[in-house]
């Protein structure tokens, strides 16, 4: 029997029980569209996490002061106050794999502009900070090396701060008071949005680190040093060089631990990506359970169909159908069910993911992989769950089948 004829007769057999065929397919439709939608959501999340991490600059290293150790009692990271301005200068001077460097200081507090006030954090940074962060200025200027040397009371506002303190006028050349210290605003940063942790990166004021150290934090040493490697592949070289340099400068004995910590964004990126990947796999496996249930539905209906059509099988055998002809016929019927369901499910899944992303503002990504995967899955399910009923039909004894009432 030619394959085209078998497919045609499979369609006709399924047409005879339209409602039943549709309900059977529904199991596969729901399963496939769930898999597609879950993969789309998971991969969308993965993509946006990657984007945000890339926005941080993936060749960036953060050097923090390490844990303080006093008489064997260790405090947390950053509790030591070992990073100095000189360390930062030494790094920029002596580490060839380092391209940009920005010492970092930190202060928080209430900021007042005219009759408005806002609580935010003030970061003291160096002149290369915006290069490292790849963060352009929307208008105005960044402070100069001269400002840093002189510990000038100038600052640049993040978008959120600018919007809250100067809702109407331009903040440039205005004066704000940070903890009662007047600062002149020289520029406003472009909007950067949330970071991977969900924090608003625009809720910040940048000022020369020298000014922050002297006027605001009253804390002699640096809170961090931000470094960018010359290229992505130089990150580990930069890390080694900085580590060696700081150990030497801090006179750490070979058997002692570092008094500083170096973190790089690729580690963070890898962790975050791995997390979302696990999430995607989890979502997809939950969805594929419903695909499995759909497959069992197909098997169930095919078994019913074989029983109902025992006489037909007997007739076909008596006029010359071989066991494999009967097997093919029922297998193709199961396959047509699962494939029709699969294709409908793919369409529904694609439409559904787009609806989700437009309503819930979630990024969703549909890859060819997820479509091929679901398509392949539906074929596999058709064959797997169709085989047993088809075999049952093919193994019938023609005489018994003919007499079946």
């Amino acid at each position: 029997m030619k394959i085209l004829n078998i497919i045609l007769s499979a369609f006709r057999a399924l047409q005879r029980n339209k409602m039943r065929s549709f309900l059977t397919m529904l199991g596969i439709i729901i399963g496939v569209s769930a898999v597609i939608a879950m993969l789309a959501i998971g991969q969308g999340a993965e993509y946006s996490v990657k984007q945000q991490i890339a926005a941080l600059g993936t060749n960036v290293l953060m050097v923090y002061p390490g844990a303080q150790q006093q008489a064997g009692v260790r405090s947390g990271a950053g509790s030591a106050t070992t990073l100095t301005e000189d360390d930062a200068l030494a790094i920029s001077r002596e580490c060839p794999a380092v391209q940009y460097i920005s010492p970092g200081a930190f202060a928080g507090g209430q900021v007042i502009a005219g009759n408005l006030n806002w609580s935010t954090s003030v970061q003291g940074v160096g002149s290369d900070y915006l290069e490292i962060r790849q963060w352009p200025i929307e208008y105005g200027d960044f402070f100069t090396d001269q400002d840093i040397k002189a510990a000038a009371k100038v600052c640049i506002l993040g978008k959120t701060v600018a919007d809250n303190l100067f809702p109407e006028a331009s903040p440039v050349d205005q004066t704000i008071r940070i903890r009662s210290v007047p600062f002149k605003v020289v520029g406003v940063l472009t909007k950067k949005g949330q970071n991977a942790m969900g924090q608003d990166q625009d809720d910040v004021i940048l000022a020369p680190y020298t000014t922050v150290l002297k006027r605001l934090s009253h804390f002699p040493n640096l809170r961090f040093i931000l470094v960018s490697a010359t290229s992505l592949k130089d990150i580990s070289a930069a890390q080694t060089q900085i580590s060696a340099l700081l150990r030497m400068r801090h006179k750490i004995q070979p058997y002692d631990g570092d008094d500083f910590t170096i973190r790089n964004q690729t580690d963070l990126a890898a962790t975050a990506t791995a997390t979302t990947e696990v999430l995607t796999i989890l979502l997809a496996s939950i969805a594929s359970v419903s695909l499995l249930v759909g497959g069992i539905g197909i098997m169930n209906i095919m078994l019913v169909s074989v029983t109902e059509r025992t006489r037909e099988i007997g007739i076909r055998m008596s006029i010359g159908a071989r066991a494999r002809d009967i097997l093919t016929q029922f297998l193709i019927e199961a396959l047509v069910l699962s494939l029709l369901g699969g294709i409908t499910g793919i369409i529904l899944g694609v439409v559904g993911s787009n609806v989700i992303s437009s309503i819930a503002k979630w990024p969703t990504i549909i890859t060819a992989f997820s479509i091929i995967l679901s398509f392949g899955f539906s074929i596999a399910i058709g064959i797997f769950f169709g085989f047993y009923p088809a075999r049952k039909a093919a193994m019938l004894n023609p005489i018994d089948a003919l007499r079946y009432e």
Binding site: K2, M317, S318, I319, G320, A321, R322, R324, L402
Partner: protein, 262 residues
């Protein structure tokens, strides 16, 4: 002996079927049921045989073996030179497809499938192209007088017409024999004679027909009677004066629907 399906008889002037010492034992639980206890018979080309006997006589078992639906326990069955007892399941299916046409008591047509498609069905399991299949099926339907009803569905046809579709289906692959198992069992007497008329016509054109029936009236249309009892052949005689269906039918009054209602 050859297994080539195209080979004709094994030599002896047109012998189609050679059956020797055929036995069939069914095992029902621990009891052995002897359905056939040594049956030997030859059937030549062009014969019209009626197999008769009460239920339980073994005639149905014999028919199943003749139709290659079942295998004998012992003994040999040679159909056109092929030892059927030695064939596999698939080879038996091929024999059923090419050499045997079945006509059943309950017609056994596929419902919701047109007359034409029912008749085409045996050709689906062979190498016939779509075009030739349609032509052959139409010809077979015309041969049984249903040329004007090829697109009707079984539920739109009378019992006699359905049986004619079944006969057309059995004819379509030009089989060596047509096996008819109580073909008139579900039909009224007039339609029965009509169907027997078709068989006689086909037989006159050289087709071998083996008919199972328990109605002596129907057997009268065949040229040879084989009577089964208790798994053995009790009588095998030539019917010298078979009834001619086309003559008998003239004597049967047409039952009018109105008359029936009155």
């Amino acid at each position: 002996m050859t297994r080539d399906l195209s080979s004709s008889s094994s030599g002896t002037n047109g012998t189609l079927i050679q059956i020797e010492h055929l036995t069939k034992v069914y095992q029902l639980g621990e009891v052995d049921v002897h359905a056939l206890r040594g049956v030997s018979v030859n059937v030549s080309k062009g014969e019209f045989v009626a197999i008769m006997g009460a239920s339980g006589s073994g005639k149905s078992t014999f028919m199943n073996i003749l139709g290659c639906l079942d295998k004998p326990t012992k003994g040999s069955y040679i159909l056109e030179g092929i030892d059927v007892g030695k064939l596999s399941r698939d080879e038996l299916a091929l024999i059923r497809n090419k050499k045997i046409g079945f006509v059943f008591q309950g017609f056994n047509l596929l419902s919701r499938t047109s007359a034409l498609e029912n008749v085409e069905l045996p050709l689906f399991y062979g190498p016939t192209s779509n075009k030739i299949r349609k032509v052959k099926a139409t010809e077979a339907l015309e041969r049984v007088g249903l040329g004007d009803r090829i697109h009707h569905y079984p539920n739109q046809l009378s019992g006699g017409q359905q049986q004619r579709v079944a006969i057309a289906r059995s004819l379509v692959n030009d089989p060596s024999i047509i096996l008819a198992d109580e073909p008139t069992g579900n039909l009224d007497s007039r339609t029965s004679v009509e169907v027997m008329g078709i068989f006689q016509e086909l037989n006159n054109n050289g087709i071998t027909i083996i008919l199972v029936t328990h109605e002596p009236d129907i057997a009268e249309f065949a040229k040879r009677h084989i009577v089964f009892r208790d798994g053995k052949i009790r009588a095998d005689k030539v019917n010298n004066k078979p009834k001619i269906a086309s003559e008998v039918i003239k004597e049967i009054p047409v039952i009018d629907d109105e008359e029936e209602a009155a």
